[in-house]
């Protein structure tokens, strides 16, 4: 019997071709009725038999490729539809959440641009409902063509027909274009007259030149990734001596030919977000791509322009952000032509404007799970549904930190974490942040009632937030840095607003602690509202403050002097064991530490990594990017021979194989986007034997005898990890000639073991209800802070913690470092407001 049902679909269901998907499905099922967008959900009225309606509902739960369906509800309706199923016009203002992330080139469009008979043959700016720019071209609200940077391009008759045909994959794809009516490619630089822009650009690259190329979210600088000289030129011109450079490849086959991604990494590469994925490098690669590292950042060609160019060049290309040193990535053509004049030899661009700067997203497989290291193009502005209890809380604007800045708005039980904005102290980034703030609030219609900032009074973000709260008369909540790191991870794993406390391990560079010292390796017993400082790394002075964060030898001296005393350090120096400290003003640094002159105490894990890297002689004189020494230390540790020999060859040759699926531990980006090009030999979506959250043994560092942390409870009741035994053992082992890679591996193992011991001491029965809490502690360890991007450490740590029956949660949606701080600040502030309103 035919009947009508009202079906509502919630989730990430707009701007992803949901209505045409429903239209096609309904037509295929011979269902009558209509579909429309309503605010943040899609509504379907369907008339048909029970079986027809069930099939439709089932299809709705799946959704089109880029949709993420959360819920489908079905209620009976009285009226009966007859005739063809239709797409009803959306009500005004109903597309509020229709702004979705940019999507990588889809296989259908890729095939089309390579088909000479197609009218979009070699058209570099094609797109459809499944692919193309979205957030990067939005200029206003609601999301339709007039409110994108495609507005100046009037659809030709052919494109209009595509746009209006529900059966076409371009139906209602706002940026639809073709060579007749759409944006055109341009080239500035050395060229043969009359030549096609693509040909000129390809010739330039093949000749070893540097090309500025307009991407989805900004300009890149490109050169041959196989040409050491071209890379060296690019580095010299960009004043970027050591920071690893990302490489773009045509497809997964090219990725496998160039580097050594494992199955899980290939899967990540093919996400519709087309992130940069860090994968194992091979010795054949030019050494100056990622100096001192054994990993390389890869991404697939994600726009038709990139795909056409790479196909023509026939080689992988370095793709680094197109900016002057320190300045943000250029998004305007005039800026790129002017600012990149001393760097690029040619410019490949087009007249589709970029509405906002979106850096490439960066993801990695960390101890068997995917982790977002930078949220940019393709991931922003995806929202995070917040756990139970946050639905009715006042909306919060959180300003995040100063480095890897991103802000977060929470409203109606959802968190909108902004895209990566850059480092606030750098040129123009503060302005970018202010604009982005205004931009998000307009686009998403959010009106915060509370403002949250990092508690550090000298953070630019703190000052920005303070000014905002004053202007708007909103309460200001300063949030402690490391509590925010942990809370961010709690929120994305669905811990309810009134959760029992967990054990948080926050490891990073530094953040201000409530005791006025620089924290960075802390154990917190915390829920959203309260954090109790339960453990830390023993404090060390930072002689030179921020300078000590750039010059690892300073931290080596500070750690050795603190652990072993100046005499022992001096002795080791005399034995030639400390080349990093040769010809350094040691007396002055020691005086600074003694007198407390610009030598603030810190308990930083990042600085501990720096010091160890300096001991093992792999830290550069002066670090030029965040995490540089730690990344080298991790790379060195992976070379440890003891580790390799004890493992079967098959294990050492492949890393973790498969990310776990779905919320909350899943990949940052939902399902795979089957990308153009040959798929890898082992299909990514067939799980292998190693489909487990337990990290691979191959990634676990080997312990080195004697390299351990001490653990003791200080008089103020804080468990303290003491690195003194570690330093003594490391120094002695170095003296005996133990290879540096073994010591680096031993360091990782020791830290994982030390942290585990620390956690064990915090577990009940000693303190079933930690001080300040009314509920017993959960046997859950929550990880946060930038150090949690260290695969080796996290592998060892997770293995140990899980081995003793603890549940371990780690960041996936939000970056573990300061890029995720704002999310934590927002949920802490909201949860506190909840307490107050009760």
């Amino acid at each position: 019997m035919r009947a009508t049902e009202r079906m509502t679909v919630t989730g990430s269901v707009q701007g992803v071709g949901f209505r045409p998907f429903v239209w096609r499905t309904a037509h295929a099922l011979c269902i009558a009725g209509e579909v429309r967008n309503r605010g943040d959900h899609v509504e379907i009225l369907a008339t048909g038999t029970q079986a027809q309606r069930d099939s439709l509902a089932e299809a709705l739960r799946r959704g089109p490729r880029h949709a993420r369906v959360e819920n489908v509800t079905r209620t009976p309706e009285a009226l009966l539809f007859t005739g063809a199923f239709t797409i009803a016009t959306s009500e005004a203002g109903a597309l509020q959440s229709g702004i979705v992330p940019d999507l990588a080139l889809c296989p259908a469009c890729h095939t089309e641009i390579r088909t000479p008979s197609s009218r979009r043959w070699r058209y570099a700016l094609t797109c459809c409902a499944d692919c193309g720019p979205r957030f990067s071209i939005v200029t206003g609200f609601p999301y339709d063509r007039a409110n994108t940077t495609m507005a100046p391009f009037t659809l030709c008759a052919a494109c209009r027909a595509d746009y209006e045909n529900p059966a076409d994959r371009r139906f209602h794809a706002e940026p639809v274009a073709c060579p007749t009516c759409g944006p055109r490619l341009r080239y500035t630089g050395p060229a043969t007259p009359g030549e096609d822009p693509l040909d000129s650009a390809a010739s330039l690259l093949r000749a070893g030149g540097i090309l500025a190329i307009k991407g989805t979210g900004g300009y890149h600088l490109a050169c041959l990734a196989t040409d050491t000289t071209a890379i060296a030129t690019l580095r010299a011109r960009k004043h970027r001596p050591t920071k690893p450079l990302a490489v773009m490849v045509a497809d997964t086959a090219a990725a496998c030919a160039f580097a050594a991604p494992n199955a899980a990494e290939l899967h990540l590469l093919q996400q519709a977000s087309a992130p940069i994925v860090t994968v194992r490098a091979t010795p054949a690669l030019p050494a100056n791509l990622a100096p001192g590292l054994d990993r390389i950042g890869l991404m697939l060609a994600y726009t038709p322009l990139h795909a056409l160019l790479i196909e023509q060049v026939g080689q992988p290309l370095v793709m680094t952000s197109g900016n002057r040193s320190g300045a943000p990535q250029a998004i305007e053509d005039e800026t790129a032509l002017r600012d990149l004049a001393g760097i690029a030899d040619g410019w490949l661009y087009h007249d589709r404007r970029i509405a906002r700067r979106l850096d490439d997203s960066v993801c990695a497989m960390i101890a068997g799970q995917s982790m977002t290291l930078r949220r940019g193009r393709g991931l922003a502005p995806r929202r995070l549904p917040l756990p139970a209890g946050f639905e009715t809380l006042p909306p919060v604007l959180a300003l995040g930190g100063d480095l890897k800045a991103a802000f977060c708005l929470t409203q109606n039980g959802q968190a909108l974490l902004s895209h990566h904005l850059g480092d606030l102290p750098a040129e123009g980034v503060e302005n970018t942040a202010r604009q982005a703030l205004a931009d998000y609030q307009t686009l998403f219609g959010l009106t915060p009632a509370l403002v949250a900032v990092d508690a550090h009074p000298d953070y630019i973000s703190h000052r920005l937030g303070t000014a905002l709260s004053q202007q708007r008369g909103l309460p200001l909540h300063p949030i402690w840095h490391h509590h925010a790191h942990i809370a961010a991870c709690m929120a994305e794993h669905g811990l309810a607003a009134d959760t029992a406390p967990v054990i948080g391990l926050a490891l990073d560079g530094t953040g201000l602690g409530p005791d006025g010292t620089a924290w960075g390796c802390e154990a917190l017993l915390c829920d959203y509202r309260t954090a109790h400082h339960a453990g830390r790394l023993a404090r060390t002075p930072m002689p030179g403050a921020d300078r000590a964060a750039r010059e690892p030898w300073r931290m080596l001296l500070a750690h050795l002097d603190t652990a072993l005393g100046p005499d022992a350090t001096t002795h080791a120096l005399a034995l030639g064991l400390l080349p990093a400290l040769h010809n350094r003003p040691l007396d002055t640094l020691r005086a600074m530490m003694r007198k407390g002159v610009n030598a603030p105490p810190c308990s930083s894990a990042g600085r501990l990594f720096d010091a160890m890297a300096a001991l093992l002689d792999i830290a550069s004189e002066r670090l030029t990017h965040e995490g540089e020494a730690a990344m080298r230390l991790e790379a060195l540790a992976r070379q440890a021979p003891a580790l390799r020999e004890t493992l079967p060859k098959s294990l050492t040759d492949s890393g973790p194989d498969e990310p776990t699926n779905g919320q909350p531990d899943g990949q940052p980006d939902g399902r795979a986007h089957s990308h153009p090009g040959r798929r890898p030999d082992s299909p990514t979506d067939s799980p292998t034997a190693a489909n487990t959250t337990l990290p691979h043994a191959a990634t676990l560092p080997a312990p080195v005898p004697g390299m351990v942390f001490g653990l003791a409870c200080t008089p103020d009741g804080v468990w303290e990890l003491d690195p003194a035994p570690l330093w003594a053992a490391a120094l002695a082992a170095k003296g005996r000639g133990v290879p540096a890679c073994t010591l680096a591996a031993g360091f990782h193992a020791a830290l994982a073991a030390g942290l585990t011991d620390l956690v064990m001491n915090l577990l009940p029965p000693q303190a079933p209800c930690p001080p300040g809490f009314t509920q017993p502690l959960l046997r859950t360890v929550v990880l946060g802070g930038g150090v949690m991007a260290n695969d080796l450490l996290v592998s060892a740590l997770v293995a140990r913690l899980e081995a003793v029956g603890l549940r371990v949660l780690r960041p996936a949606f939000a970056p573990p470092g300061d890029g995720g701080l704002a999310l934590g600040q927002a949920v802490i502030t909201a949860a506190r407001a909840r307490m107050e309103t009760r």
């Binding site: 004043h239 002057r324 040193s325 320190g326 300045a327 600012d339 930190g401 100063d402 480095l403 890897k404 102290p425 750098a426 040129e427 123009g428 503060e430 302005n431 202010r434 550090h456 009074p457 000298d458 953070y459 630019i460 000052r463 840095h481 990073d508 560079g509 530094t510 953040g511 201000l512 006025g516 620089a518 930072m542 002689p543 030179g544 403050a545 921020d546 300078r547 000590a548 964060a549 750039r550 003003p585 007396d587 002055t588 640094l589 020691r590 005086a591 600074m592 007198k595 002159v597 610009n598 603030p600 810190c602 990042g606 965040e626 930038g786 470092g817 300061d818």
Partner: protein, 336 residues
């Protein structure tokens, strides 16, 4: 040195020491106040400038000066950066019991010399001796009056887009000198404080660049501190050229080791001047022609404040930029 009411002889000794050094005219010295004739003041301008400052420094004596010269120069410089011609100073001392008399003599003599060179008289003063431990050696408070000529309108609020920013010499010499002179940081370099009275220099500058907008002596907080205040007060944005900042190599060296920046270090003989572009060259030439401005430099430019308010930005050799912000208190590490 002993304190208390009993030591009449000591009292007399100290009084004599000050009187002789500052050579106040005998008849006013007997009174409870200095008496300054009005007529010459009125002839010199239409506003009286009046300022006061207290000085505390460790060590009391350092290469290039001592607490006394700091006290005299500091107050004179606070007057002259307002366009005033200094007339007279007062000096009040708090002395700790046990302070070496010879040290006090040296300090007082240096003050007298410094004032004389600057053409300013120290006309009144006071001393108190407190028990050892109540004070650390010696504290000085100086106040000063000066006259501002009628045609001068120098103000921290007067910087305009298009103006340029000048400094009369190397940055951070005083701050670095004090750090080295403390002797406890094993900094084996001799750096002299730049402590100097800037009256003559300001007169030369104003003669060459009569439309000078703003002047500030860059003491605590350094040039960065002054410029932050200036940008805020004038509602403009300042861009500094890092490569143009004059810094002595030995100061740079000290900063490198300690993790400090010369831009933030104290000066005691440096001023920041904002002048209109049209007078930039003349101003720079005038500064360089003066003994206290030989290393003067054009360090930055003034622009319209951005949409989000005033700012101070430093542009480095590679074209990169960073915003200068003043730390709220003791510097806390900011790198995560």
């Amino acid at each position: 040195m002993a304190h208390g009411g009993g030591g009449t002889a000591m009292r007399a000794l100290i009084d004599t020491l000050f009187l002789e050094a500052f050579s106040a005219t005998p008849h006013t010295a007997q009174e409870d106040q200095a008496r300054l004739p009005l007529a010459p003041l009125v002839a010199g301008g239409d506003r009286l400038a009046f300022t006061t400052d207290s000085f505390v420094v460790e060590p009391l004596e350092f290469p290039g000066g001592n607490i006394g010269t700091l006290a005299v120069c500091g107050t004179i410089n606070d007057l002259v950066v307002g366009g005033a011609r200094p007339v007279a100073l007062s000096a009040a001392f708090i002395l700790a019991e046990g302070l070496e008399l010879a040290c006090l003599r040296r300090i007082v003599a240096a003050m007298a010399d410094c004032a004389r060179e600057a053409g300013v008289r120290i006309v009144t003063g006071d001393t108190k001796v407190v028990p050892k431990g109540a004070c650390d050696g010696l504290y000085v408070t100086t106040s000063g009056v000066g006259v501002i000529p009628a045609d001068r309108a120098i103000s921290i609020t007067a910087a305009r887009p298009g103006d340029v920013v000048l400094v009369n010499g190397t940055l951070g010499d005083h701050g670095a000198a004090i750090l080295c002179a403390r002797g406890d940081l094993a900094l084996d370099v001799a750096i002299a404080s730049d402590c100097a009275p800037l009256g003559g220099l300001v007169e030369a500058l104003l003669a060459a660049a009569p439309n000078t907008r703003s002047l500030r002596d860059a003491t605590r907080g350094g040039v960065a501190g002054v410029l932050s205040e200036l940008a805020e007060a004038s509602a403009v944005s300042l861009t500094l050229d890092e490569t143009a900042l004059p810094v002595r190599p030995e100061v740079e060296g000290v900063c490198d080791i300690l993790g400090l920046e010369a831009l933030f270090l104290a000066n005691e003989g440096k001023l920041v001047a904002v002048v209109p572009q049209a007078e930039a060259e003349a101003a720079l030439a005038a500064l360089r022609a003066h003994p206290l401005g030989q290393q003067a430099a054009l360090i930055g430019t003034v622009a319209e404040a951005g949409p989000h308010g005033p700012s101070v930005v430093v542009r480095n050799a590679f074209g990169g930029r960073r915003t200068v912000t003043m730390p709220s208190g003791e510097q806390l590490p900011r790198i995560c």
